[in-house]
């Protein structure tokens, strides 16, 4: 049986150690293979791609550009292949990011990444907060509804279509904590830091398709 290939993009935006280890543990003894993507890749040779990210939107976009990852990634996403973006890896799915300077994103899910509106909030939004599912999903099933995940971010997805929001979280306002369009998923929180529910989410993403 042909092994499914999982790509983990190292966009030099934070340490990929935790997510790397989580994936390895999940696929151990199963017909999957993990490949770290560090530069140009052939988009048709991957079954799933995970892009974790920390730090700033503009930094990740410029790193991906330098590494020649943008073009194949855009082609991959345009073919509606399976993708999971984590934190900034989710944010760059948008049209524009407003952190530091205005930066064009991948433009897969329409909307912009802007700062939390409420000036009285403690920023970054750091810690464990609850996700509320808008509807049941084959990968992010009802069992994740009202569970806590670890967040650390100051910017959120805004001007997004309701139908692209799979889950929302409350922090001074409602904001999208999971976005979804076709087979493309993005989570604002860090599942690799979110203990058992986080690991289950990664597990579901890899094993269910």
């Amino acid at each position: 049986m042909k092994k499914k290939v999982i790509g983990l993009i190292d966009g030099q935006s934070g340490n990929i150690g935790s997510i790397n280890k989580a994936i390895k543990d999940i696929i151990k003894g199963k017909p999957y293979r993990l490949k770290i993507i560090k530069g140009h890749f052939n988009y048709s040779s991957f079954d799933k791609i995970i892009l974790p990210g920390q730090g700033a939107y503009a930094t990740l976009m410029s790193n991906l550009k330098k590494l020649k990852i943008i073009k194949p990634l855009k082609e991959y996403l345009a073919s509606n292949s399976s993708y999971l973006g984590i934190c900034v890896g989710m944010q760059i799915l948008s049209d524009w990011g407003y952190e530091d300077k205005i930066t064009r994103g991948l433009g897969v899910i329409s909307g912009d990444i802007k700062k939390f509106r409420n000036k009285k909030l403690i920023i970054p939004h750091m810690g464990w907060n609850t996700i509320n599912l808008n509807n049941d999903d084959t990968i992010i099933t009802n069992s994740f509804d009202k569970k806590d995940f670890y967040f650390v971010h100051s910017y959120i997805f805004q001007n997004i279509k309701k139908s692209d929001v799979l889950a929302f979280t409350l922090y001074g306002q409602k904001f999208p904590s999971i976005v979804k369009k076709g087979n493309i998923y993005g989570v604002q929180f860090h599942p690799e830091k979110s203990h058992k529910h986080g690991l289950n989410l990664i597990k579901n993403y890899i094993l269910k398709s």
Partner: protein, 263 residues
């Protein structure tokens, strides 16, 4: 009108108060000692980290309290080993003096690095570190102490009182890009009479980044009083290491007081 607005903000957040056990580490052992005297080994750092992660800690903090050249290598290996067995955020500090120390710890698997004395001596380090790695992983640890009716920043475990005034330093570290403040009161640390509510409230009301309260927890009520200072993380060591309280016990108690906690 203002009160009404604030209460709406309050209600519409389900952010949980973080309970953070702190491991004071030498090489690979968790220790307990007062000012480096009578140091007692409390256990193996990796095993204790694993235990806390499984038993509901929201984050883990570990400090190299004897960051000598010889001990550092073993400490870094311990960070690597811990990062492999836990899947909650890990903050590492102690003996961080420059950008390469920060990079080493992040590469070893730390999610956040805490800087203390080095930031006091060279505040630019905060900006350089946050520009390179992002604010979210730069924690500035501040040790505060009252001296001649003023709250001052102290270094070297409270033995050296600096000229810096606590609140202006807290504001400065925020403006230089710190993502979080780990605030320890040297007036209450190790005494188990409770957090320094007065000092913590002054800090939280003057910054808009998250503040972790540290120093002085001895009872369950102390955790609640810590929460009332608007600190979003509550750090404790002895009460957990000694087995006096389990993390679950603390969370259950806070929950009955209406404090949101992760179950």
């Amino acid at each position: 009108m203002k009160i009404k607005f604030l209460s709406i903000v309050w209600l519409s957040s389900m952010l949980k108060t973080r309970i953070i056990p702190c491991l004071d580490v030498i090489k690979n052992k968790v220790v307990k000692g007062v000012n480096f005297k009578n140091i007692r080994v409390m256990g193996n750092a990796v095993e204790m980290a694993k235990y806390y992660s499984l038993s509901g800690a929201d984050e883990l903090c570990m400090l190299d309290i004897n960051a000598s050249y010889q001990n550092r290598k073993t400490f870094i290996k311990t960070v690597e080993a811990i990062a492999k067995v836990i899947n909650i955020p890990l903050t590492v500090g102690g003996g961080v003096s420059d950008l390469s120390d920060i990079t080493d710890l992040l590469n070893a698997g730390a999610d956040k690095v805490s800087i203390n004395s080095a930031a006091v001596k060279n505040p630019k380090l905060i900006r350089q570190a946050s520009l390179r790695h992002g604010s979210q992983c730069i924690v500035v640890a501040i040790d505060g102490k009252r001296h001649k009716n003023k709250m001052r920043v102290v270094i070297k475990g409270g033995r050296e009182i600096t000229k810096r005034e606590l609140i202006s330093w807290a504001k400065q570290v925020q403006s230089m890009g710190a993502g979080e403040i780990l605030m320890t009161s040297m007036d209450t640390d190790g005494v188990q009479n409770g957090f320094d509510s007065n000092m913590l409230k002054k800090v939280t009301s003057n910054v808009s980044i998250p503040v972790i309260a540290s120093g002085g927890v001895g009872s369950l009520e102390h955790f609640y009083l810590g929460h009332l200072t608007k600190s979003t993380g509550l750090l404790a060591a002895s009460v957990f290491h000694s087995g006096k309280y389990k993390i679950k016990t603390v969370k259950k108690y806070l929950s009955t007081k209406g404090v949101p906690v992760r179950k």
